[in-house]
């Protein structure tokens, strides 16, 4: 295979890079001719010298010309014409007269607003300096971005760089003797629409013979630059996100985005750089492939960790892992082939088939995920992939049938734009999916935490209750034994003794002793009742909290030292018996405080059954205490704990002037 044919092949394969995500690749492989259907006519005219040509007024004469029908402004296509026989040579006597005016009025139909890059290589094989002029028609703005000459002695030193524009004038360039000039031109097609363009290279009178190459390129555009910027920002954002949530899919995702960005950067760089050194074209080709391989190498693990395929679809998980291995293997083979330039054909074919395999794999994975219905998350993934596929196909279609979009304003007229749009939409879906998954995970985490908290609260409650139950049960048993057993016996003894007293006549001293004994017995019985009652008020279980509290209040009232007003509001509602006991203990504690410390005259105990909770207020007119002082030894901590245990609230307020007021609110379950 000749070098030219190889280059042609390379050019074709490069086309597929852009269209890679599309199954149209198959069509391309079936019929590679399709790619030529895109027409953009660039006519290169090499003119014989004309002393007056600088003025652009006199007729100029064609010496050689060629029409490049296949120059594709977007899909890189390579036209290499080292062989000047490619050009039609026109005998001097049949030189065509071309009036410059007519060139300016070339009818135009399609629109090409994007700047385009062209490079020209001129080799001066004469001992004299050669002079040329550039001219382009219709009058478009040409920027000579750079040019350089290769001194025969050194390897590609850049001897001179100029920037400037040619507009409506001839642009002069000169080539030192026995030197090569490579020139990068950026052409702004400002006078669009046009469908053909004449590019003139006019040797001056002194010019010697020269050999030249011509290479045309699709343009760089603002949209792609913004797109790359967006990719980079997104990649950075995903890295930041990873540092927050520590989930693997963010690493893979940002990796995928970064490599995509690198891929597009390479594409952009290629536009400029490859024009100068055709050898670097292969390096770029390799870099491009590797960027894609790396992107895919991130893509599959992203699939895996995003959908947790290891747990949900283990079969697919394994296959995706194999795909990653295959990618690594391919990367190594490709690297090896880089050192075997004569196998370039194999290298490109391999890559083509690799792409087909990857696409098939991806499609298979997407279908599997779709069929397995892995919840809403998989829809994001499949929708993202599908939109990329659709847009990639559009891009492919438009690059084949360029006229479909040619009349649209930039960047819509650029097929690459559709591919980029596809990636944007895909990334939006994926990001939304990640966000959605993140939210799900958060929810899960929160509910798990809540469940844990509820469980620990419940355990605490159970513990407290079992302790309380055991203690109270014990107390209750002792109280009952004391009251019913010992109390009953004492009652019997008391009655029997009273009987004896009635029957037996005692002397005065003995009678006194006897009466004192009876009094002491009465005292013991009273004390016994008091103790039993304090342990477990029998009325609490039988009649409920309200009654038990009133009994307690009345018991204090009967001592005549403190007057307690007992009020109830609303209809009584029973709480669970252990809760009632806790509330009873709280009020007992509060009233004990009033009796022992407050030196109050009056006290209010109000039990209010309100709609959602039980509210109990204990208010006295005593001397109060400092609520800020926690170590007041009045069991306040204990009261707080008990209220908290019942999930209730407490308002404790005390002042020297008005006394103490405590309100507790206990919710009904």
């Amino acid at each position: 295979m000749s070098r030219d044919a190889a280059k042609e092949k390379i050019a074709h394969l490069h086309c597929t890079y852009f269209l890679g995500h599309s199954l149209f690749l198959y069509f391309y492989l079936i019929n590679s001719e399709t790619v030529h259907s895109l027409k953009f006519k660039l006519i290169l005219l090499v003119l014989l010298s004309s002393p007056d040509s600088a003025a652009g007024q006199s007729p100029v004469y064609l010496s050689k010309w060629k029409t490049f029908d296949t120059v594709d402004p977007y899909l890189r296509l390579f036209i290499d014409s080292t062989n000047s026989t490619d050009f039609v040579s026109i005998p001097a006597d049949r030189l065509e007269k071309i009036p410059t005016n007519s060139l300016k009025q070339t009818p135009a139909r399609s629109q090409l607003l994007l700047p385009h890059y062209f490079s020209i290589t001129l080799i001066n094989d004469q001992p004299d300096t050669a002079h040329f002029f550039f001219y382009i028609s219709p009058q478009e703005k040409i920027e000579v971005r750079s040019y350089q000459t290769k001194a025969t002695s050194s390897v590609l030193p850049i001897t001179k760089k100029i920037r400037g524009s040619i507009n409506r004038q001839l642009y002069p360039i000169s080539i030192p003797p026995s030197d090569t000039l490579r020139c990068l031109l950026k052409i702004h097609f400002q006078q669009a629409p046009l469908d053909s363009c004449y590019f003139f290279l006019i040797p001056s009178a002194q010019a010697g013979s020269f050999i030249w190459y011509w290479d045309g390129y699709g343009g760089q555009d603002l949209f792609t630059l913004i797109f790359i910027g967006m990719l980079l920002m997104m990649g950075i954002y995903m890295m930041v996100k990873y540092s927050q949530v520590k989930r693997n899919e963010y690493v893979f995702y940002s990796g995928y985005i970064f490599f995509m960005a690198i891929y597009f950067v390479i594409k952009q760089g290629e536009t400029k750089e490859v024009l100068f050194f055709s050898s670097s074209r292969f390096i770029y080709g390799y870099a491009e492939r590797m960027a894609q391989i790396a992107a895919y190498a991130m893509y599959f693990p992203f699939f895996q960790s995003f959908l947790r395929t290891k747990q949900t679809i283990p079969g697919l998980h394994r296959q995706l892992t194999y795909a990653s291995y295959v990618l690594c293997g391919y990367a190594l083979i490709d690297l090896a082939l880089m050192f075997l330039p004569h196998l370039i054909q194999i290298q490109f074919n391999l890559w083509s088939w690799m792409r087909i395999a990857l696409l098939t794999w991806t499609a298979y994975a997407a279908i599997t995920i779709w069929r397995k219905k892995q919840g809403q998350i998989s829809y994001y993934l499949v929708a993202g992939g599908a939109s990329l596929g659709v847009f990639a196909m559009l891009a492919m279609l438009f690059s084949f049938y360029y006229q479909l979009i040619a009349s649209l304003p930039a960047p819509l007229s650029n097929p690459l734009f559709y591919f980029e749009l596809g990636i944007i939409i895909e990334l939006l879906f994926f990001s939304a999916g990640l966000g959605y998954k993140n939210r799900l995970d958060e929810k899960e985490k929160v509910s798990a935490q809540q469940a844990l908290q509820i469980e620990s609260e419940r355990q605490q409650f159970e513990l407290y209750r079992s302790i309380a139950e055991t203690r109270e049960g014990e107390q209750s048993r002792i109280a009952k034994d004391l009251h019913d057993g010992v109390g009953g016996l004492l009652s019997g003894v008391r009655i029997s003794l009273a009987n004896i007293k009635n029957k037996v006549t005692l002397n005065k001293d003995d009678e006194l002793i006897f009466a004192r004994s009876l009094d002491m017995l009465d005292g013991s019985m009273q004390e016994l009742r008091r103790v039993a009652h304090a342990m477990k008020p029998p009325s609490l279980e039988v009649f409920g909290l309200k009654t038990a509290l009133r009994d307690y209040v009345e018991a204090i009232n009967s001592m005549k030292t403190l007057k307690i007003v007992f009020q109830t509001v609303g209809n009584e509602r029973r709480l669970a018996s252990e809760q009632e006991l806790i509330v009873y203990r709280i009020v007992q504690e509060l009233l004990n405080n009033v009796v022992k410390h407050a030196q109050a005259k009056e006290c209010l105990v109000q039990v209010s059954y309100l709609s959602a909770h039980l509210s109990i207020t204990v208010e006295d007119d005593g001397n109060g205490f400092d609520t800020g002082q926690e170590s007041n030894g009045m069991g306040l901590t204990n009261i707080h704990q008990r209220v908290e245990f019942l999930k209730g609230g407490i308002d404790l307020n005390s002042s020297k002037q008005t006394g103490t007021s405590v309100q507790i609110n206990i919710p009904f379950k």
Partner: protein
């Protein structure tokens, strides 16, 4: 004519003591005794007495219920509770069940006799009840506690929850709970109605 007395108590010793005590009284005729509710009711199937001395704490049923059952079977029988319970609630329950008197077991014979005679004559013996001084029924028009009046006064002064909380050095949720309690207690719909109530009853911040 002697007063026929029946004793119900789960402690034989008490029954014995009471019996020997009452036997010495000419005005009393001891009709029988029971150590549980069932045998007591069995007695009343075809007999009757004037007065029953009834313990509240019985093994098979409480004296409170037994009292009502006996009264149902024999309405003319008067019942005096003779118990070790010294709580107001028991006294009240016995009264509600139809008892005519309440005595603690260490009551002196003289008082017991007086009670039996009073009850038998159609009277009641609630001396023990008098021990509980109170005005239980004294329903207060204003059921608001001092603290609630304070909070209501501040609400009426137009202070917000946060301001009140600041002023009383409590949390605003505590203030809110007071506010809800007030609304619920006074059976009003909202805070505006609370404020109206405050003005109508002259509960205003500065008065507190």
């Amino acid at each position: 004519m002697a007063i026929r007395v029946f004793i119900v108590d789960d402690h034989p010793m008490v029954i014995e003591g009471l019996s020997s005590m009452l036997r010495s009284q000419v005005s009393i005729e001891l009709a029988g005794f029971a150590t549980n509710a069932a045998s007591c009711l069995g007695f009343f199937v075809n007999q009757s007495v004037d007065v029953v001395l009834m313990d509240i704490n019985l093994p098979d049923n409480s004296g409170i219920e037994l009292c009502a059952l006996v009264k149902a079977k024999s309405p003319i029988t008067k019942i005096i509770a003779l118990s070790n319970f010294d709580q107001l609630s028991y006294v009240e329950r016995m009264k509600e069940s139809g008892a005519s008197g309440y005595l603690l077991k260490n009551t002196p014979l003289a008082e017991l006799m007086e009670a039996i005679e009073t009850v038998n004559a159609g009277g009641a013996w609630w001396n023990y009840l008098e021990k509980f001084t109170n005005q239980m029924e004294a329903k207060q028009v204003m059921m608001l506690t001092r603290r609630e009046k304070e909070v209501l006064g501040l609400i009426a002064d137009g202070l917000t929850n946060v301001e009140i909380a600041d002023k009383l050095s409590v949390s605003s949720s505590t203030v809110d709970s007071h506010r809800k309690n007030l609304i619920s207690k006074l059976h009003v719909k909202n805070t505006a109605a609370l404020v109206r109530f405050a003005f109508e009853n002259k509960i205003i911040g500065s008065h507190i």
